[in-house]
């Protein structure tokens, strides 16, 4: 079993396609929707965590690409710019997975990248632009 996080971007004509249904039903993948967004121009953005046999995962990704969905692995997504961080902790209460956490002794912020689901909440709330999104 392999797990991967992917960012899918699809044009307006694909927003009505049951993409997640097909990934589950036809490619036997476990789909965890981390984030979804449709812009005013109806372009869709979906961040998924996909789990399944390696072969099936590859076939699933092929299916998406053939359909015209732009796919991108979510690996180097959210970056913590340590030198810009003031350790105010504003991000920590809103981080849904505690990827951003506080060492209570030093009252400093730490970032555990593996826990990050790229919800972008920290990017929105950080007053010092210390969280950067790299898609």
């Amino acid at each position: 079993m392999t797990t991967t996080k992917v960012v899918l971007r699809f044009p307006p004509d694909l927003t009505d396609q049951p993409i997640t249904y097909k990934l589950i039903k036809e490619y036997d993948l476990m789909v965890n929707i981390l984030r979804g967004h449709i812009t005013p121009k109806e372009e869709g953005m979906l961040v998924l965590e996909l789990t399944g046999a390696k072969k099936k995962l590859e076939r699933g990704m092929d299916y998406l690409e053939k359909l015209g969905v732009e796919t991108q692995r979510l690996s180097k997504d959210v970056k913590w710019l340590k030198e810009r961080c003031t350790h105010c902790t504003a991000c920590t209460a809103l981080c849904p997975t505690q990827a951003l956490w506080i060492d209570r002794d030093t009252m400093t912020v730490g970032f555990e990248k593996d826990k990050c689901i790229a919800c972008e909440m920290c990017v929105t709330v950080c007053p010092y632009s210390a969280m950067e999104l790299l898609f």
């Binding site: 003031t86 350790h87 105010c88 902790t89 504003a90 991000c91 920590t92 209460a93 809103l94 506080i102 209570r104 030093t106 009252m107 400093t108 909440m121 929105t124 709330v125 007053p127 010092y128 632009s129």
Partner: protein, 405 residues
């Protein structure tokens, strides 16, 4: 009983005992306040948080031929500055934003760049773009100016903040059904999170709650350099309810501070953006407290568990200026990362950096121990509990328009 003069003599000889506002807590617990008052000479405090009423004024020097910026329009990196002063004196406010910033037209606006960021860049030694248009006079004929400029090029660059260093502050929550974007950060609906903004037991005015030693003229750590308390800050409001120790239960006193921007550092003056709200400047301030007697040391040794703050709803109560505090919590509770309101557990986070406040108190301690920083007597006391100050709200009065003749 000690005098500031005696303390300064000890500092000069390298014999002063200096502790931070955290270290004094344990010292007093172990040795008692009487002994602490005898042995400890100075307690250093610190705070590092967004402080909107901040600004810098500059004298940029005269061009050849001369230009009168006063009464004209001037921008630094597209951020408008105030020109209603003499020919080449300009004032940049921390919350100013470029004319073409979309603000909240697409809500919530980003407010990526503004006055606070210009101050940070200048202090970092960077050049900024000065663009100006003037009306031209006989003595100041020039009408246009575009140039790069750095702090080094200017005659004076002065940080002047009309209100910093709030003595205590609200804890902000949101009881409504939608996320709100405030100067206290993003607040999630239905008490989704609680944001506070004070260094608590390290905060200067919480360690001298009755303004016994901090007053007009007090020399301070300001933005990485040194500065002075210029006056009481705007909205200085000492006459609020207090705890038995004299610590205000809500926002109370404030400081206006001033200092030479050229000797400050960009680590301690940070441009700050609040989504959906605007731009500001985060300022690092440290104030030394001379331990004159036992009362001063008891106050300086205040602990987070002894300082309370009010939890206020920012969806309705605050904007409409009505209603009451939802609860009273201590900074010790806030710093655990969780408080409980109406039986609901809420994650807490701070907007002011306790880690940086601690660092500032440490740096100031170091300066004093090395004899590089001497204490000052204030030249005038801040208005205190006996001042009778009443915090005024704006009473709107209708304007009668007269018909033109």
């Amino acid at each position: 009983m000690k005098t500031i003069e005696e303390i300064n003599e000890k500092i000069k000889k390298g014999k002063a005992l200096v502790l931070t506002a955290e270290e004094i807590i344990d010292f007093v617990r172990e040795k008692g306040s009487k002994k602490a008052a005898e042995e400890v000479d100075v307690v250093t405090t610190g705070t590092f948080g967004p402080m909107c009423s901040s600004s810098a004024y500059f004298n940029v020097g005269h061009t050849k031929p001369r230009i009168k910026l006063g009464g004209g329009t001037v921008y630094l990196n597209d951020v408008p500055v105030y020109t209603g002063l003499a020919a080449v004196d300009i004032l940049l406010g921390a919350t100013a934003i470029p004319d073409d910033d979309p603000r909240n037209a697409v809500f919530p606006g980003q407010f990526a760049y503004g006055g606070g960021h210009v101050i940070e860049e200048l202090v970092a030694g960077k050049e900024v773009r000065l663009t100006a248009a003037a009306y031209g006079t006989d003595c100041y004929p020039r009408k246009k100016l575009e140039t790069r400029i750095s702090l080094e090029d200017m005659n004076e660059a002065v940080l002047f903040n009309p209100r910093n260093c709030y003595q205590n502050y609200n804890v902000a929550v949101n009881v409504s059904d939608r996320a709100i974007f405030t100067y206290m950060g993003v607040l999630q609906p239905r008490l989704g999170n609680a944001n506070y903004c004070s260094a608590g037991q390290l905060s200067p005015l919480l360690c001298d709650p009755l303004y016994r030693t901090i007053g007009i003229g007090t020399r301070i750590f300001l933005g990485g350099g040194t500065g002075h308390v210029a006056w009481q800050g705007t909205q200085h409001n000492p006459c609020v309810p207090r705890t038995e120790l004299g610590v205000p239960r809500m926002g109370a006193g404030t400081l206006a501070v001033i200092g030479d921007l050229k000797q400050m550092g960009s680590r301690w003056l940070r441009g700050t953006s609040f989504r959906g709200y605007g731009v500001t400047l985060t300022v690092g301030i440290g104030v030394p407290i001379p331990i004159l007697d036992e009362e001063v040391v008891i106050h300086a040794a205040v602990r987070d568990e002894d300082i309370v703050s009010q939890v206020v709803d920012y969806s309705e109560t605050y904007p409409q200026r009505e209603g009451e505090s939802l609860a009273e919590v201590t900074y010790a509770q806030l710093k655990t990362g969780e408080i409980s309101i109406n039986g609901k557990k809420i994650h807490t986070a701070s907007l002011s950096s306790y880690a940086m406040a601690r660092e500032i108190a440490g740096i100031l301690k170091d300066w004093i121990q090395k004899g590089e920083f001497l204490l000052t007597e204030y030249v005038q006391q801040l208005p205190s509990l006996d001042s009778g100050i009443v915090f005024k709200e704006l009473q709107e009065k209708p304007i009668r328009f007269k018909k033109a003749v």
